[in-house]
């Protein structure tokens, strides 16, 4: 089922949670709503689910206006951050709940129900856990039960609200990959909310970045990561270094490095900043580019993070650069050493809008 949002707005008291949202989710897509807390992503998801009613705008399911449909008529599966399993029911009863509450003529026979629940439990690798109670399972297992329960009613759309937010990083990583596989096998339309950019990039086909109730940018993960349209998106999608851009004689400089012609630099505006990701900084021998001093070296598995103080910049704000472990093994940069910096890529934004 395809979902479309047209001019959605929702206000809680004085607080505008979402404003003027337009979004198209094609059938079978897996979309991430990404943003910091309070950006309106959960509100948007709840509006799609029917758990909130928008003040303005329309929600279209396959082109039909579903704005005022009650949640039980929407055929959506909703997965909560804290699982929301029914604690007085066994795992089996939890998964069977959606089937048991169907009107009598739609309700499957008890044998059929048992078969379906068992196959769902096996799908989430919990075939052995039917008799357990939620309290006896780990967080990751509970969330898989919640997913099986949501899938039991054959939803057209699966909505997940920070589904892995309460889990530790190892389990989270496994569940992400597993969700992606499940989505590819079952072909439902999925929308999930997260504040974790890595999760969004890893799992989703399309990322929608929200900020202060509006959509900042949407696109495929690589595109949003590489070509952010605003400083906010650039910052939110990964580590960045920020440098002031200096204008001299109609040319633009980062420190001593001439970055002209930088298309984005408006020559009249003296307040531009350049955002550079750590892996876009090139570290070379002294004499290359911008002189700098290494102040910290941290080996993180396959990569090595160097903190360097570039000459002329305040020393309490070192730049972060990442190089490969192999490169590091070869060159052995050490604390106190003087090196040269160059930038492989950068992006310039007006500083005024960058504070957002």
């Amino acid at each position: 089922m395809s979902i479309a949002l047209r001019g959605i707005a929702k206000q809680f008291g004085e607080f505008a949670a979402v404003k003027d949202i337009d979004l198209d989710v094609p059938t079978g897509a897996l979309i991430a709503l990404l943003g910091p807390s309070g950006c309106g992503k959960t509100t948007l998801l709840r509006i799609i689910a029917g758990l909130e009613t928008p003040d303005e705008g329309q929600v279209l399911f396959d082109g039909r206006d579903a704005t005022l449909w009650p949640i039980r008529d929407r055929n959506v599966g909703f997965v909560f951050q804290h699982y929301a399993l029914f604690r007085h029911m066994s795992v089996f009863e939890n998964v069977a709940f959606g089937l048991k509450v169907k009107p009598r003529r739609e309700r499957p026979s008890s044998a059929e129900m048992r078969r379906k629940v068992q196959s769902l439990l096996e799908l989430v690798q919990l075939g052995w856990a039917g008799d357990r109670y939620p309290a006896q399972l780990s967080g990751g297992q509970r969330q898989r039960v919640a997913l099986a329960r949501a899938l039991a009613v054959d939803p057209d759309v699966l909505l997940l609200d920070e589904p892995f937010g309460a889990l530790d990083s190892q389990v989270r990583h496994e569940l992400r990959r597993w969700l992606r596989r499940l989505h590819d096998e079952l072909h439902f339309t999925s929308i999930f909310v997260t504040h974790d950019q890595q999760e969004a990039i890893e799992v989703a086909d399309t990322i929608v970045v929200l900020n202060r109730g509006r959509i900042e940018q949407s696109g495929v993960p690589g595109e949003v990561y590489d070509l952010p349209t605003s400083a906010f998106v650039h910052r939110f999608l990964g580590q960045v270094n920020e440098l002031p851009v200096h204008l001299r004689d109609g040319r633009a400089y980062l420190g001593p490095i001439d970055i002209s012609p930088a298309a984005d630099v408006r020559t009249g505006d003296a307040n531009n900043i350049a955002l550079i990701r750590p892996h876009e900084i090139e570290i070379g021998p002294e004499g290359m580019g911008w002189p700098a001093t290494v102040v910290a070296v941290r080996v993180i598995g396959p990569i090595v993070r160097l903190e360097v103080c570039a000459q002329g910049l305040p020393t309490n704000e070192p730049l972060e650069a990442e190089i490969s472990r192999e490169r590091y093994e070869g060159e052995r940069f050490s604390v106190g050493q003087t090196v040269g910096l160059r930038f492989r890529r950068w992006q310039v934004y007006p500083a005024s809008g960058a504070a957002a």
Partner: protein, 293 residues
């Protein structure tokens, strides 16, 4: 594990801790166990036959029946009201919510005697509706309906007050997920909400029932003390006591105490029969506490 550690702690307890435990036990004994024992001792002071005679007196029986009748009406009424009010307050946002919470607390704030006087003022022969009621030969005050009304008023907050924090702590996730799975509002209530609150509800009902059976002040004002007709057990005890009929007074009092003990035993029995529920309730409690920190 935790219990084992606690036991070791007690055995190695410092003198200060022992002193505190002893003080608590002494206090409990002095103010709870001793009076309770005194009631039974006094009731049986003139022998079992005197006791049996006292409680098989028709007037005593009438008081027992009236008390049970009043509780049987007031408790279900407040059960329905309490669940509805707690549900509304915990799960929905609406204008006037704080006013509703204050109103629910009103019977706690008002002295029971005043609660009784309110009903006299409304339904008494010189009250607002007195003329109408008299014309239609309906007796409210100095009759059973008045006693029921006063009891409902006084026991109004118990169940709602017990449930509101429980329901607020549980949040709306369970209900919302039931709805998203296709359950109707009614199915959600019976299959999800009610099982989630059953312990809180039971404590609320126990408290409400205890107060409904034991209420004295408000009922005393509206009852009129007609023996065999409008005397509840607490009123009957007072009358007997004022007549220096101590044995009978304490015999009826012991029955009242016995009813209270029975409800407590019933509660323990339910907890013993369904340990996994107690376990689940505790886990839920832990979870909400963890999420708050």
């Amino acid at each position: 594990m935790a219990a084992a550690e606690a036991r070791i702690d007690v055995r190695r307890a410092a003198p200060g801790r022992l002193l505190l435990i002893a003080a608590a036990l002494l206090f409990l004994g002095l103010f709870l166990v001793l009076p309770l024992l005194a009631v039974f001792v006094q009731a049986l002071a003139k022998g079992v036959s005197a006791y049996v005679a006292a409680i098989s007196d028709p007037m005593a029986w009438a008081a027992v029946k009236l008390t049970l009748t009043v509780a049987a009406i007031a408790v279900p009424f407040n059960l329905v009201f309490g669940v509805a009010a707690a549900w509304a307050i915990a799960k929905f946002e609406f204008r006037g919510k704080n006013t509703l919470i204050t109103l629910i607390d009103l019977p706690f704030a008002v002295s029971p005697v005043i609660a009784g006087l309110i009903f006299i003022l409304l339904f008494g022969s010189h009250g607002w509706f007195g003329g109408y009621l008299k014309a239609h030969h309906i007796r409210v005050v100095f009759a059973v309906p008045g006693i029921v009304l006063a009891t409902i008023f006084v026991t109004f907050p118990f169940i709602a007050r017990e449930l509101i924090p429980v329901m607020q702590a549980q949040g709306k996730d369970d209900e919302e997920s039931a709805l998203s799975l296709g359950a109707t509002g009614w199915q959600t209530f019976w299959r999800v909400t009610l099982p989630n609150i059953r312990w809180g509800l039971m404590y609320g009902v126990l408290l409400c029932n205890a107060r409904a059976m034991g209420e004295f002040g408000a009922v005393s004002v509206v009852s009129g003390h007609v023996r065999g007709l409008t005397n509840t057990m607490p009123l009957h005890v007072e009358i007997l006591y004022n007549e220096y009929n101590y044995t009978a007074a304490f015999a009826v009092a012991s029955l009242l105490a016995l009813l209270a003990l029975l409800t407590l035993v019933g509660k323990s029995f339910l907890e013993w029969r369904q340990p996994e529920l107690k376990h689940a309730a505790r886990l839920a409690h832990d979870r909400t506490r963890r999420e708050k920190t």
